[in-house]
Symmetry: C2
Subunit: 528 residues, 2 copies
C-alpha cells in the first residue's frame, strides 16, 4: 500500500520523506495497514510558507468566511460519522459507543459550530473604543498556527479538528495540523473533510494543512520558524517542554497542556453522609475511557479512619470487578506501569491491581494505591508522578492541617474537587482548604468529579504550570479559547474608513458587544 | 552615610548584603551620596516568603481594600511631588519641568487611580456565568508579582509605583519592586510612601516590598522561585531574555518589554502636502526626553527623491540646532554610541551628529543616519539595532514594493506609523502597507508620532516579540493591563454561597458588567 499523502498548500501530495510509520491497533497489538510519512524539513517549510501566504490572503476577510468554512466542515464530519468512528476505534481502542459516536464526535462538531458562531458574533475581538481621543483596539488574527494533538482525544483535540484548530480558525488564522502518531488514519479522514470544506468555501490553499510526523529536531525548528505565529500543544510533558522552550526563546505564544492529576478531597462529613455516592462517582470517573483523561482523578485525599477504610475497600472491590479497558497504545501502557512503579517505590502501598491481565492487548489492571500523608509530604514530587490511565493514589490524612499541607505541595492542576457534607458539617475545613486549592487549579469543583468538560463560555480547561504553560488561558470554551490565537491591535488616530468594521462608530451588526468608554454596549460609538 | 535599608515583610531593615552601589548624576557624572545595598539570596527569599504570606492573607479581601490602598498611595505621591521630582532629576537628568512634574508624575498618579477604579468596578474579572449548568468563571489574583522597572521612566514604570505595580495590586497581588539601579533614591521615596499607605490602609506586611539590586544569578532564581506567580520586566533585551528564559522554564508568566524601533512611513503624498508638519512632528518626537522612549521613532521609511531630500535636510538642520539632551546614564550613552557604530558599519551614512559634544555629562549629539532600501534589505537585522536615545535611521525606497519588503523584515515593534496624503493620493500605498505593518506592531498610527502613550482602555502598549514577549497583552490601559497578573478561575457546581460575590446570581454592585449566557449585562443572573 502506498504511503499516505500529506496536505500541503492546497494539495494532497506524496511526501518527500523516506521514513514511514504505521499505527497499531491497541486491542490486538497488530499494526494497521496504512503507512504514513515522516515529513522532512523541506516539506514542513513549504507548509509554513503556504500558511503565511494564506494568512495574508485572508487577513481582512469578514468573519463570515471563517464561520462558513467551519460550518461546512462540521457538516461533513457529521455526514462521515460512521467511517470516522470506525477508524478511530481501530486506532485508539476507544469504544464506538458511547464514547466515540455519542460523546466525543458530537462534542467536536459542537465545538466547531460554537467557534463558527463566536467568529460571527465577534465577541472574541473585545472591541474597545475611546472616542474622545480616537483610540481603538480589538483582538485580531495572530497568523499561522500549528496544532499538535494528543493521543487521548482523536476528535475533540485533534490537530485538524479539535478545540485548538477551531479556535485558531475562528480568529482567522491558517492551521497546520500535526497528527498524533497513534491515530493518523482518523486524522487523515478529518483532514480530507477539512480540505473539502475549504475548497467548497473558497479558502485559499495553505489555510488548512496536515503533516503526520516530524523528527524532534524539525519539531523545534517548526515552532520557532519566522512564519509561525502561535502553537497549541496537548500531550506528553517531555516533548511539550522541548517545544515550549524552542517557542519561548523566540517569543512565540505556545499553549501547552502537559499533565494534571486532579486532586479530589473527600471531607469526613461527606464520607459519613453519602459514602456509596462517592464510591460510584469516583469509580465511574476514574475508570471511564480507561482513565485516559487529562481530568482523570489521579489523587484522592481523605481523612484516615474506619469510614475511609470502608470507602477504600468498596472502591477496590469495584476496581477488581470492573472490566479492564484497553489503553491507547504501548507507550501509554509502559508509561502507566512505570508511573505505578515509581509511586510504589516512593512508598505507596498497593490496594488492588497493578497486574497485567491480558497480554493480547495494551492494558493494565485497574489499580489503586495508597499512602499516608506523612510519607506523601516527605516526597511530594514523586507521589505526583502522573499515572495516565486507570490508576489512582489515595492519601489518608490525620487532620485538615495535613490536607492543607498537601495542597501547598501540589503542582498546578487543571482541576481540584472538594466533596463536603451537604448540611455544613465540613464547612470549616472547606473554608480553610478551598482558598488554597483555588490557586493551584484552573477549575474548582464541589461534590463532582472533574471528568466531563462542558463546552461553555464559563469553562476553564487550563491551570497553573505544569497543567498548562499560562494560567490565564483556557483551551475549552469560546470566546475565551480564541484569545490564545489572537494579538491585541490598537488603532491610534486611524482614519475612520480605514478601521476594521468592529471599531467603526456604527455597530457593524447592531448586535456586537463593544466596550465604549468603559461600558459594554451593542449601540454605536459617538462621533468624535 | 549608612547604606539605605530594604523594605522586607513590612519593615525597613538593614540589608544583609555586603556589596553596595551608588547612583550617578548624569548631568555631571558625579556619584550621588546615598549608598544602596545588593541584596543577598537570603533576603530575597525572605521577601518571597513574606509576599506569599501576604497573598494568602488578602486572597479573599474585597476589591475595595486594594482600591483604598492605591488611592492613599496616589495621594501621598501627589503630596511629595517636589521632593520626588527633585531626586528623580538628580538621578536621571530628566528635567523637572515639564517632564517630571507636569507630565510623568501626574500620569503615574492617574495610572494608580485608574487602577484603583478598575479594582473597584471589577471589570478586569470578566465574570462569566452559565446558569443552566452552574458553571462560572472569572479572573482572580495570581499571587506574588515581581516588577523590574526600567531606567527611562523613574515614575510611570517604576517597580514600586508604575503601571505594572498598579495593575498587579489592582488584581489583589502583593508586589516585590526591584528598583532600577540608576534611580534608587527616587524609588526609595516612592517605596516609603507605598509602605506608609499600606500601613494606613492596613495591608499585611509583605504586600509591598522593595529591594534595590541582586546578582544576575539571584535574579533568575527569584523569578523562578515557587513563591513567585508572575513577573513584569521592562528594560534591556539581554537581561530581559535571561529572566524570561528562567521564568518560562518553570511556567511563570513573565511580561517583558525589550526593544522597539517604531517604524514611521512617510508616504510621498504626505511629504508633498505637508513637509514642514512632518519635520516638526518627527523632530519633536525623536528628541523629546533625548529620545529615551520605548516608542521613540528610530526608523523612518520614505520614498527617494527631491521632496524627501528637502525633508531630510531640514530635519538635519533642526537636529543640529536643537540642544543636546542629557542621557540617563553612562550605560545609555555607551549603548547608544555602540548602536550608531553598528548601524554605520552596516553601511548607513551619517547625515548629522554622532559626535560627543560635552564630556562633562552623559550625552551624544542628535544623530541622523540614512541608508538606501537595497542595503537595508540586505542586512535588515543589523539595521534594526536599537539606538536608544536621540538618534534615528532614515531609509529611502525606490517604490512601495521596497516599503513592503522592509515591513516583511521588521522585528515586532510596539508601534508603527503611516503618514499619508489627506486627499487620498497615498491610499493605494496605504492599503498595501497597512495590513502588513499591522501584524508587526501593537499600535498602528495614522499621521501621528508614536511617542505619547495615552492611559486609556483602548491603548495597546505591547506588540510581537521582541517588543514584548506576548502580543496579546498590554502594559498600559486598564482593565486589559490587569489581566497580566490574573489567573482564570472556573467554579464548577460550587455551592452558591461559596462563590466569589462577582459570580453569585445577584450583581454585587448593581453596576458590574458580567457575561451571562453570552450577553453582557449589569443585571442579575437567573437562579438555576
Amino acid at each position: 500500500m502506498a504511503t499516505q499523502q500529506v496536505l500541503i498548500d492546497g494539495q494532497w501530495q506524496a511526501s518527500k520523506g523516506t521514513e514511514t510509520f504505521q499505527a497499531t491497533n491497541p486491542a490486538n497489538k497488530q499494526p494497521l495497514p496504512e503507512t504514513f510519512p515522516v515529513s522532512p524539513w523541506s516539506e514542513i517549510e513549504a507548509a509554513l510558507q503556504a500558511a503565511e501566504r494564506a494568512a495574508r490572503t485572508v487577513r481582512n476577510w469578514p468573519a463570515e468566511r471563517f464561520a462558513k468554512f467551519l460550518e461546512a466542515y462540521a457538516t461533513k464530519i457529521e455526514q462521515r460519522t460512521d467511517d470516522i468512528c470506525r477508524i478511530a476505534n481501530l486506532e485508539t481502542g476507544l469504544p464506538v459507543e458511547p464514547r466515540l459516536k455519542t460523546a466525543e464526535l458530537p462534542r467536536t462538531i459542537n465545538q466547531i459550530r460554537q467557534s463558527a458562531a463566536a467568529a460571527r458574533d465577534g465577541s472574541w475581538r473585545v472591541p474597545t473604543i475611546d472616542p474622545k481621543i480616537n483610540l481603538r483596539s480589538c483582538f485580531g488574527p495572530i497568523g499561522p498556527v500549528i496544532v499538535f494533538g494528543p493521543n487521548n482525544f482523536p476528535f475533540a483535540y485533534n490537530g485538524i479538528a479539535g478545540g485548538d484548530f477551531a479556535s485558531a480558525v475562528a480568529a482567522g488564522n491558517p492551521v497546520i495540523g500535526k497528527a498524533h502518531s497513534s491515530h493518523p488514519g482518523t486524522t487523515k479522514i478529518l483532514a480530507e473533510l477539512a480540505h473539502a470544506a475549504a475548497q467548497e468555501t473558497e479558502m485559499p490553499p495553505g489555510f488548512v494543512q496536515l503533516i503526520y510526523r516530524t523528527s524532534h529536531k524539525d519539531g523545534t525548528r517548526m515552532v520557532s520558524h519566522h512564519c509561525t505565529a502561535a502553537i497549541g500543544y496537548t500531550g506528553a510533558r517531555t516533548t511539550g517542554l522541548v517545544l515550549k522552550e524552542a517557542a519561548d526563546r523566540v517569543g512565540k505564544p505556545i499553549y501547552v497542556e502537559l499533565s494534571s492529576i486532579n486532586p479530589v478531597f473527600f471531607l469526613s462529613g461527606a464520607i459519613a453522609e453519602r459514602r456509596q455516592a462517592l464510591v460510584d462517582d469516583f469509580t465511574a470517573s476514574c475508570l471511564m475511557a480507561t482513565g485516559q483523561f487529562c481530568t482523570n482523578p489521579g489523587l484522592v485525599i481523605l481523612p484516615e479512619g474506619p469510614d475511609s477504610e470502608a470507602l477504600i475497600k468498596v472502591i477496590a472491590e469495584k476496581f477488581n470487578a470492573a472490566p479492564v479497558g484497553t489503553l491507547l497504545s504501548g507507550g501509554v501502557e509502559s508509561n502507566l506501569r512505570a508511573a505505578i512503579v515509581a509511586i510504589r517505590q516512593a512508598g505507596a502501598d498497593l490496594v488492588c491491581g497493578d497486574t497485567s491481565p491480558d497480554a493480547s492487548r495494551f492494558c493494565h489492571a485497574n489499580t489503586l494505591l495508597r499512602v499516608k500523608a506523612d510519607a506523601f509530604l516527605a516526597d511530594a514530587e514523586k507521589f505526583q508522578t502522573e499515572a495516565f490511565g486507570n490508576s489512582s493514589l489515595f492519601v489518608t490524612t490525620k487532620n485538615v492541617d495535613q490536607m492543607a499541607a498537601i495542597i501547598d505541595k501540589l503542582e498546578g492542576n487543571l482541576t481540584g474537587s472538594i466533596y463536603s457534607h451537604t448540611g455544613g458539617q465540613d464547612d470549616d475545613a472547606y473554608d480553610r482548604l478551598a482558598p488554597l486549592l483555588r490557586q493551584h487549579v484552573g477549575r474548582l469543583l464541589n461534590d463532582k468529579m472533574p471528568t466531563g468538560v462542558a463546552v461553555s463560555a464559563a469553562m476553564n480547561h487550563g491551570g497553573p504550570f505544569p497543567a498548562t504553560g499560562h494560567p490565564g488561558f483556557t483551551a475549552v470554551g469560546v470566546p475565551a479559547a480564541i484569545h490564545r490565537f489572537a494579538m491585541l491591535q490598537s488603532y491610534d488616530n486611524v482614519r475612520h474608513h480605514r478601521l476594521p468594521p468592529c471599531l467603526q462608530n456604527q455597530n457593524p451588526t447592531g448586535k456586537q458587544w463593544r466596550l465604549i468608554d468603559g461600558q459594554w454596549t451593542q449601540g454605536d460609538a459617538p462621533s468624535a
